[in-house]
Each structure stands twice: as C-alpha cells, then as structure tokens.
Symmetry: C2
DNA sequence: CTGAAAGCGCTTACAG
DNA sequence: CTGAAAGCGCTTACAG
C-alpha cells in the first residue's frame, strides 16, 4: 500500500495541497471548517507528514545528535553509567521540546561527529564522555569552521569558556573534603586523574587542595593517586597504597566507581568503612545505595544538566550567544563517612 | 556560508551533477579519474550529501528507532539499568552496519512510536522495556496495518511468535532454581510478577516450578510473591515475609534489582547471605559485583540480543521473513548462593 | 484565509 | 561510463 501524500489528503478534504500543509503545520491561519476536514482526512488515511521532505524543504532539521564516547574502562556497558540518567533526561527534555534525538556511540577512531552536522542529520551536537577533550581539539576545529553548533558536558576548554556546561567540580570536591576534615580525617587520599588534560578531575583536585588549605591541613603528595576511572583501577590503587604501608584515614574518589573499588579492597583487607577509613565518591550513581556501607558522595544534577545542555544547544542553533553554565552539586551524606 | 550542493562539486570537478552523485554513492561504475576529481572537490568544499534530500529521493531512510519505555520504577534513571548495555550494543552494531539510530523515551501516554514509522523518520522500530506488552496491543495493531516493521525485546506475544526476540527465560530460571535446590534449599521464594501479562516473568516462574517438580520438591504458593520490579518493592516484599513469619531459605528474584532489595532487607534484619538465605537474581547487571556478597544471577546476553534485534529488524524491513530467536542465558555463580 | 507555482538537493531511469 | 531530465513530498513566498 502506497503512503498517502498531502495531495491525497487535499483531494479527500476538498482543498489545495498547500492548504493541507498549512492546516497540518498549525502555524498559519486556516478556517476552522477546513482545518477539521483536513485533520479528518489525515486521520482516515493514516497520514503523517513525510519528515524528510519537510526537512529538505524547510531547511529545519529539528534534530540533535548526542554523541557518546565509548567508555573503554567499562567494556561490558560501553557507556559510563553516569551518563544513563543524563541521556535519559536529555531524551525526556528533547521529547518535551519536540526535537528528535539521534544517539551514536563514537569510538576513538571514528570520524567523530563531523558527519552528523555536515550531512544535515542534526542541527547540533551534544558531546558526552569526552573527558580528555584536548585530544579532540583538531576535530572540533572543523566543526567550528563550518559553524556547526555543539556543546560538551564536563570538561571546560580554555578556548571556549562560553561553551562550558558542567558541574561545580571544585565546589563539590571542596565540600566533600571539608566534610572529611571536619570528621577529623587528616590523611585523605585523592583518587583520580589530577592532570590538566582532564579538567573535570583537575578541578576536583583543586577543591581537595583548597579544603586542606582552609583547614590548615598539609597536602601530602604521596596521597594523590593518578589512575584511570574504573572500579578495577580504584581497587588496584588502594591495594598498592596498603602494600606500600602508606598511612591514610580517608579516600576522596573523583568517581563513585573508583570509590566502590576502593571500598571493596579495603574490606577485603579487613578494614572497616567508615571506622578505619572514610570513603567519599563523586556523581551519585544509583548504585551508591546498593552497596554496604552506602556511599556518601557529591551529587551531579543530571536533570538540570540535560536541560541546560539542550537549551544551550538550541540557543546556539538559533544563532544566539550561549552562556557558560556551572551546575551546583550537592553533598550527599550516607554511611561511608 | 552557504552549504555546497552537488552542483557546486560538479562545477569544481568539471562533470555533471548526476556524475557527482554516482561517484559519491560508490554504487555505480565511474571512471577512476572522475572519481578522484569528485572526491577532491568534495573534500575541498567540506561537502557531504544532504541526508534529507537523499532520503526523500531514494526512499531509503536507513534509520531505525529505538523506543524505550520510561521506567516508572526507576524515577531517577528513567531507563531500567538493564537496558544500558543493550542500548550500547545496539548503537554499536547499528553503527557498524551504517544505520542511524533515533532513540526516544516513551511515556505511557505517548502516541507511542506510531509517529516514527509513519512520518518516515525510521524504517523500523525496536521496542525496549514493554514488559506488559498486552497493554499496547491496540497501538501495535496500527503498525501492523500499515506494514511498519517492528520488533520487541522481552515479552513473547501469542499473535506473533515469529517476532519474538528474548532470552531463554524458562531455561535460565530452571538452571538457577535447580542450583538452589542442589544446594539443599527447599523453601525458595519466587520474587517477581508471575502473571501472564508479563510473559518474561511468567516464563521464569515456569522454570522455577519445573525445577521443583524435577527435584521432587513441592512448590508452596505462599512463597510466590507478586511485586513490582524495583529494589524498594523487593525489599518491602521480603520484609513482609519476615514479619509474617514465613519460613524460607532462599530467594529467586526475577530481576537483580529485586534481589538487591531482598539482600538489603535480609541483612538489615540480621540474616546472613548466603548462610541463612541464598539469593539469586536475573539479568547480570554490572552492579552484581559491587555489592556484598556479590550476587549470583542468570546472565542475559545483551550483546547477542542487540545483534539479533537489529538483524531481525533489518530483515523485516527488507521484506524477508523473520524467525523467532530465543537467546541462551548463562548461570553466573558468585557469593550470594 | 486560500490556491497556483516554484524549488529544497538529491537519485535514478533513459539515452547515448 | 556520462549527461539531461524528471521527480521524491513537502514549505512558503506571491497573489488574490
């Protein structure tokens, strides 16, 4: 059975094809009688506008692409669990706004998003999971050249302070570590990547340092551990610390996953959390309340993040200036400290 | 700056527009010299084919829609965590096949996918998370009428045995419960929804019953608990059992989430898992190894599921007959039993 | 408020 | 292997 076109509807409703288009678009004045007849005819023939023709003709795509970087630390899932609620909220909010969402998992080697804008699949791109954004600078440069709008969640880039959408990493880390210090902890491990390449984590490191300074506690470089962001790495790092006889009474992990790995190792070694070692994470994955003890953490507000990302991108698509947004975090105290 | 069209490329390469299209499509014979010139010109102008014009003209959309039912049991995540790796694998495999993926979160009340096929956004639809598919029968009927291809993961529908893609629920449950019985457990709680409306869970219930029958152990109806599929419900159900003084020595939950809730309640009540009560889940979420004790479970193979879903859908789109596929599960023994 | 007409940027028979 | 031409199904000035 052939798909009906607007001409078929026009014939059935007894109007011109142009009027059908106008009635269905809800953006032009159309007499009530005509509108009714058009909608009835459309319903009768199960007609809907061919979105491809509309996009071609109107030049409005009304679609955003969400490009998620494949997470090599999580081979089972491919996507970092932190992004699950974020993607969910983006889909939700985009749905509310009536824009379609194309989702793609990007491998490191891929042509990487360039295709999406260029081929007019999408009006703009949201990048998720590009922690080490510096690596991608060259590719982003192409997007910039052709004026393809995009926005990244997480890392702040020196060149585009305006394009930043992310959490208040420094503030969140500061609150978390201040709390640990208030608890009487003095030897707090920083578990994460404190290099400038990962600005998100580096900001958390700065919050860690500031909390120490404000409390007059010395930061011991031996406690700043550099490792990848997976549970296994967190477990291994703590193991090494224990093996080396390093003295510590708390762990601040830049990621819940890392914190969970830390707790598992500590418990395996017979240490009790939080009695012997306090542990604090970052993100507030839903898993935090599944483990024992439940994990205290810094909550990233993914609902707000999703809205801000979509709104910012839409503003850029419309040619309006975008503002950098730093989303407040929230300290969530549970059992692990 | 205006986007270049195939006419611009044609002018630059010194050929006709039709030849540009043919060279770029890689599907027609084109002389080597012409091909080179066309590709050079395209690269120079940052040209890519306008996907919307191509879709309109060729009538090939090359896009599938993944419609995920909003999970009301998981308000924080909106998407059931089980689907994370499944969606990841679908994105991955679809990417390999060069088809775009539109993802949408569907609320119960939505027009529900009908839009996707009708408006020619996608060639076909993959439904995820429609456990209680009977509710949607009427809506699916419309898809059937217009010949829009679709496939569902999970529940098997009586009318379309061919369209089924799902795990070997009965076999997985049978293996799990048989293992519990072999461990000496005799009073095994079935935690889930054993109604026919949820065919996935009902199949698991049948496996639970068959394992008992084969071992000559009586099934006690008092141990078959009906509850929603969330951690909270699992916790509450076990609490009720404990309060009522019901005797049981194992829990088989139709979902890891439920099993985790059960373990949390048991531990809160001072019971030791697995010494006092063995617990077995279903799915093999990555969380299983985060909790203490690590959860034994029945693994659903999401990688294979993703491939089968995409392949089946593509076959349907191409007008070929589809076969029902039941994907083997795997018993994963860890610490909880 | 409505119609006739042009045209979005491609693909693909049809001829050669 | 290549070109000229038609046309996919819409939206949107332009007139009235």
């Amino acid at each position: 059975m052939k798909r009906p076109t607007s001409f078929d509807i026009a014939a059935l409703a007894g109007v011109s094809q142009a009027t059908v288009s106008r009635a269905l678009s809800n953006a032009y004045p159309v007499s009530e009688d005509v509108r009714r007849r058009v909608f009835e005819a459309a319903a009768k023939l199960n007609y809907t506008v061919d979105i491809n023709a509309r996009k071609l003709r109107s030049k409005k795509i009304n679609t955003i692409a969400v490009l998620v970087s494949e997470d090599l630390d999580q081979p089972d899932n491919r996507i970092n669990p932190f992004f699950l609620p974020l993607i969910g909220s983006i889909l939700d909010y985009a749905g509310e706004k009536g824009v379609d969402v194309l989702v793609s998992l990007q491998k490191q080697s891929d042509n990487w998003g360039v295709d999406y804008g260029f081929s007019r699949r999408a009006d703009g791109i949201i990048f998720l999971g590009y922690r080490d954004f510096e690596t991608y600078r060259q590719k982003v440069e192409v997007l910039r050249q052709v004026g393809e709008p995009w926005v990244v969640f997480g890392p702040q880039m020196s060149e585009d302070p305006d394009l930043f959408v992310g959490s208040d990493n420094e503030g969140g880390a500061h609150a978390a570590v201040s709390h640990l210090i208030k608890l009487g902890r003095k030897r707090i491990v920083f578990l994460g990547e404190a290099s400038e390449r990962h600005s998100e984590f580096f900001e958390r490191f700065k919050g860690y340092v500031r909390a120490h300074e404000e409390a007059g506690v010395k930061v011991d470089p031996a406690l700043a551990i550099d490792c990848f962001i997976s549970r296994e790495e967190g477990a291994a790092a703590i193991q090494r610390l224990l093996d080396d006889g390093v003295d510590f009474d708390a762990v601040f992990a830049v990621t819940d996953l890392l914190a969970i790995g830390a707790i598992q190792t500590l418990q395996k070694r017979g240490l009790v959390v939080p009695r012997d070692v306090s542990v604090m994470g970052f993100d507030d994955l839903w898993v935090c309340t599944c483990i024992n003890p439940e994990l205290s953490t810094v909550r990233q507000d993914t609902t707000t993040a999703a809205r801000v990302l979509v709104d910012t991108l839409i503003r850029l698509i419309d040619g309006q200036p975008a503002e950098m947004t730093r989303i407040p975090t929230q300290l969530v105290l549970r059992e692990s400290c």
